[in-house]
């Protein structure tokens, strides 16, 4: 299955820049997590991908060619603001969407049954959507995005408002679609979920992509400090003194930890000298790069001053 490319997308609302040359790529079978604070431009980027909005500049390509309406019909989309006909019955509604996406009525019927069962709303097929709980409406919404067997999934906040069981079902479905070669993009504020589920992550801030890569790549970027922790029988004061005496090393306290410090090496190999110095005065329990969590990375990135917020 081809990959999706967003190439230097820009979009302004009046004087507000919602997107500034935003670019990223999602490969076949890859789950791409799209994170950023509210108004960073995630929704705008997704709406442009689906052709619901027109970009001022830039292009969305699918397998190297601009994504057109005919190809968009094969995309599964879940907008941030959910959209279903409240008075229409679940099955009728999903059939309508499936047929709009170009399925034959027979295939559509089969797919509706399959997906409603899979998502646990099979017993509500004949009920009007407005009679369902919000969580169940959310499941129907996901079914609407999946019913036509899409070749690309673009889901804006698919996990918001779901109970833990539904989150598991949704995660499983996303993994399964990705395993079938479908590129999956989703945005979320639940960063633990993103960390667990995504192959790659993009952090967007003020309309620009500020970091992309696998979680490990992202964590390795920048100068992560070394963390050195010692055992109970070691004298903390002695270790600290020994470390402070090593040339080219800055020692920092680790908040909440009395048995460890952060070491920033200013000179090549200085951290090795610091390790040797520590081993001479006591017992070293662990010594490793202290990689940030996605949440920490995210905070670092988005706490950089952003200009006007955009209602995306």
């Amino acid at each position: 299955m081809p990959s999706l490319e967003l190439d230097r997308l820009s979009k302004s609302y009046g004087s507000v820049h919602a997107l500034r040359e935003l670019s990223f790529e999602v490969g076949a079978g890859e789950i791409f997590g799209f994170v950023g604070s509210n108004g960073a431009g995630k929704t705008t980027a997704m709406r442009i991908t689906l052709g619901v909005l027109a970009a001022d500049a830039g292009e969305v390509r699918w397998g190297g060619v601009p994504l057109d309406l005919e190809m968009r019909r094969r995309v599964g989309y879940m907008p941030e603001e959910r959209g279903l006909y409240p008075k229409m019955k679940v099955a009728e509604q999903l059939l309508f969407f499936a047929e709009l996406h170009g399925m034959s009525p027979a295939d559509a019927r089969e797919a509706v049954d399959r997906w409603t069962d899979r998502l646990g709303v099979g017993h509500r097929r004949r009920d009007a959507v407005e009679k369902l709980s919000l969580g169940n409406q959310q499941r129907v919404q996901l079914a609407a995005a999946l019913v036509h067997d899409p070749v690309l999934l673009v889901l804006d906040e698919p996990f918001s408002g779901l109970d833990p069981v539904a989150v598991d079902v949704m995660s499983e479905v996303l993994r399964e679609r990705a395993a079938a070669g479908v590129p999956v993009i989703f945005s979320s504020h639940q960063l633990d979920l993103v960390e667990r589920l995504c192959d790659r992550v993009g952090i967007v801030s003020a309309g620009s992509m500020v970091a992309t890569g696998s979680i490990d790549e992202l964590r390795a970027t920048g100068e992560a400090p070394w963390m050195l922790a010692w055992g109970e029988r070691t004298d903390p004061v002695a270790v600290r003194q020994a470390l402070a005496a090593v040339p080219g090393v800055t020692v920092q306290e680790v908040p909440g930890r009395g048995d460890a410090v952060h070491l920033l090496a200013q000179l090549e190999g200085a951290e090795q000298a610091a390790l040797r110095a520590a081993l001479e005065v006591g017992e070293v329990r662990s010594f490793a790069r202290d990689l940030p969590t996605l949440t920490e990375l995210f905070r670092d990135v988005v706490s950089a001053p952003a200009d006007e917020e955009v209602a995306a």
């Binding site: 995309v75 959209g83 709009l100």
Partner: protein, 403 residues
Amino acid sequence: MSRRPVLTVARRELKTRMVTRSNIISLAIMVVVIIAGGIAGKIFLGEETEPEPMRLAVDASVSELSPYLESSPAAGPGGIALEPLDEAGARAAFADEEAEAPLAAWVGGDPAAPTVLFEDEPDPAVLGIVEQAAREAATARAVTELGGDPEAVRAAVDAVALEVQQVLPPEEGLDPARWVLATFLVTLLLFSILGTGTMVAMGVVEEKTSRVVEILLSTIRPGQLLAGKIIGIGAYGLFQVAVLGGTLMAVVGGLGALPELEIDLGGTFVLMVVWFLLGFGLFALLFGGFAALVSRQEDIGAVTTPLMFGMFVPFYLTIFLVPNQPDATLTKVLSQIPFFAPFMMPTRAAAGALEPWEMPLALALTALTIPLLVWISARVYRRAVLHTGGRMKLTEALGGSKG
């Protein structure tokens, strides 16, 4: 533009409207109203089928007058029925309360100076008829005495004929029965176009409010969505008009609610359907396009109210102008203006006041306006449909940057 998504959207619209309980109920009520109106029309407008003759009792003494009475030009549409009866018999007949048809009067006495007996107040019409008959009888007697032929005189008198001319053109009063039909027709058109137009507007806003429009527009073009919606609701409106118009024609034709009506009902029905479609085309496009400017059902009035006025003005002008000034230049000119034509033309056709060139011209002008409105409303719709929050200005939607 691919047709299939348009049809899918249209089918959903049609199906949704067909099974909505409130729609079924209001259609049923309208059918009942039309039938009731037909029955009322029959009661108020229906004249007696056979006009009753005037019953006049004549004594044997005035039998000489009988031929003149029977052939009286002043007799009503039922003519005069003479009954030989003496005065006592006539008085008895007057006294009989149970009599099926009352005697107008009894005539007796001297044919040259007849006595006319009434039950109560003397009827001047009867007096005129008797007096005329007596004069004619007297003339005939005199002619005979002078040696002439009364029949020849009478023939000569009857041969007198007047040729009537008038300087001002004749006032063509509308046949009331035709006018009732035309009023029903234009009212039906107004309600159908207004009802379906409002449905289009509400449908557009419903999709915006529920945000389903975003999913739809990731799959189909705005033009396809609007077209499908208008076609679907138009098909429902056509069904409605067929049911209501069919009921109207059936009531008029079948029940004979309007007597002595020489109207081609089938042709009127076809005209009504054609004009519904054209009128719906004009107004639904505007309703659909402009409704996209608002995001909430509460704001929909801001869009639909001006359009409703746009319908009520031609409607009331039609109701006023067609019966009062059927041939005025104003009426003829307005009939050709697209937003007036759907009300004016079928009404004037049903009222029977149309020159042959008027209908084809009005049809063509209206049909030509529709593509222009398609362009305007698709443009407004495309720009406004994803706009949320407050009401979007029309100028913003028509001009401005691509969004």
